[in-house]
Symmetry: C4
Subunit: 200 residues, 4 copies
Amino acid sequence: MSLEKEKQLVLELILHFYKQGWMRFGSGNFCLRNGNELLCAKDRVQRDLLQEGEIVQFSLSDSPKVDNVEWSKIFAYILQKRNAVSCILSTSIAALGASLYPAKEFHTRSKEMIKGIPKGHPSNGYLCCFDSLKVPIIQNDSTERIYESIKQTLEDYPETNAILIRGYGAIGWGSTWEKSKTQMECYDYLFELDYKIKNL
Amino acid sequence: MSLEKEKQLVLELILHFYKQGWMRFGSGNFCLRNGNELLCAKDRVQRDLLQEGEIVQFSLSDSPKVDNVEWSKIFAYILQKRNAVSCILSTSIAALGASLYPAKEFHTRSKEMIKGIPKGHPSNGYLCCFDSLKVPIIQNDSTERIYESIKQTLEDYPETNAILIRGYGAIGWGSTWEKSKTQMECYDYLFELDYKIKNL
Amino acid sequence: MSLEKEKQLVLELILHFYKQGWMRFGSGNFCLRNGNELLCAKDRVQRDLLQEGEIVQFSLSDSPKVDNVEWSKIFAYILQKRNAVSCILSTSIAALGASLYPAKEFHTRSKEMIKGIPKGHPSNGYLCCFDSLKVPIIQNDSTERIYESIKQTLEDYPETNAILIRGYGAIGWGSTWEKSKTQMECYDYLFELDYKIKNL
Amino acid sequence: MSLEKEKQLVLELILHFYKQGWMRFGSGNFCLRNGNELLCAKDRVQRDLLQEGEIVQFSLSDSPKVDNVEWSKIFAYILQKRNAVSCILSTSIAALGASLYPAKEFHTRSKEMIKGIPKGHPSNGYLCCFDSLKVPIIQNDSTERIYESIKQTLEDYPETNAILIRGYGAIGWGSTWEKSKTQMECYDYLFELDYKIKNL
């Protein structure tokens, strides 16, 4: 896809994610990679009224010094480290609820929707619905420290496709933009369902 | 209706069901029968962005060997056994909540919406709002075993129009596509309401 | 307004009410009066896909014998008795929750939204936000007995603009279609809010 | 922006806010300032069907005597006192829930979304996500007394950008219309999240 078309895709998907409740205010983001180039929305810009001029393009090597995108270095690191094409930073209420569990990981099992999550890279296949799904939870902190925590977490959890950040939300990634989207749909569903069950 | 028009209908209804929360990720399905031919969406394909090329057509006799539609044999069996025209596999949060009740059946009574559910085939009339509605719950398992459970359940509950699959969702069917849709609206509503009351 | 325009209005408003969650399946209704003529949707007809041909027109005197609209006699009675122009029968989850309270009335007070409810007819002015709002709850039963209960309740509660029917929903009316709509928005909001507070 | 364009903006934003659940019935409002001129919707007018003729224009000096806008004087006072351009009066269920807490203030901390709230005027910078956010709660009363309470509260809480009114909702303001909107998105999110956590 050309960069021009990808910009349109980023605009459309961010609006879609806003409607799903993943991106209120200028928080939450979607970062799409095309070779060495990355696209995402500026920080503190309205997700439901995003303009083309508010999409930032930067290269992998430039990622640490991008203005207006605090997480640029984190997005670049995850996408390279996991050989992924896009990642979604969601601040949905469901993700927040799960991020606040007083535990090191969010756990769920025996839910059909777990099948939507790959064992690390999709080339290793997918989890079975009876598998246990763990999503590591890290502390919120300065961007630099979140970067360090995520680096460590990617080592400690080689199979995870998402990380919860306490009081912040969830970051997930996928080997195509479709996979990052459907995987986040699964995670968000599982977070929401878990809350519902806890209240039965 | 021509198969071409039915394909359009499947596309439209699946998008509608996605918006209702019945089909996140590539899960959930809608299967429509036209004589010996069946139409439904491929597995693991985005329900909100479904393309015409992602709708699979197969015949009743081919149903056990359809690629990309794990439930093809189950859809075909239910539609034939119950003389139905379409069925909906929903993974809504409301259905999931109900499927996780530690019981063999979901029970509810004295709700007006129960009137929307037929006593088996609509030719036998509909339940009264004061009737007790039971929806059997089966275990989730391999597709082959779910097939066997559903076969048994259709024998054990000759009047039911839906089955809950624990941790998975609900499958419902109707003698027209409209009935399968409105009946699932009733079931989903009753599942949601029951959860709400339990939390009062 | 001409009857033709009113039919369009009924079509549009019922779709709007469906989206609000007031009318799932073929349940819930909106009845609009134009002199001696009344318009509403047929029973058991999909509210989200309502067709012009599925709107029934009948006169006040014909109301007891209308096919396909079980509540025709009730709608006609309420509209005449309360000098109202339209009524809404809602089966929203919020109304259902409130209808199931083990009490003769739903009570709430000190909510700003109470200001949206008139003291009986709007010509008597509106409730103050500090007033206590009572909505009587009647039992669900055969249409004939609901008719009798509603008749009695209109006598017992001369100021009410809505009645809850246990396990069924809520019927509300207004002196214009706009008022019946905004009043039901207030009731639904107050039912939803009350549930929320009970869970705090 | 011309006043004509601003009227269009008010119409569009109020519809958007209705869809967010901030303005049911004729309650809730959005007031936009252009120099000495203010625009907002009339009281008791349907927010989802707002017409251009239902937008009221008045000047700062006229604010105490505007018909059909009970809060005109309050809007004018806040906008001047805080050097703001627009304010949003929300009656969302989330705001109502928070307004009913038996405390003088709504408190939350360690949530990323807190970053969206300025320390008083945005020229002083924004809160950090680890800061504690307080939103004062005042009693609902006559408009005149709410006016007095808000006056006092603006003195007592020089940094706040919103006030909760018990049983009524929340009023928030911003130095641009975009900021008043995104800030209310943050507040509403934090109110909703807090309720969710309380129920865990």
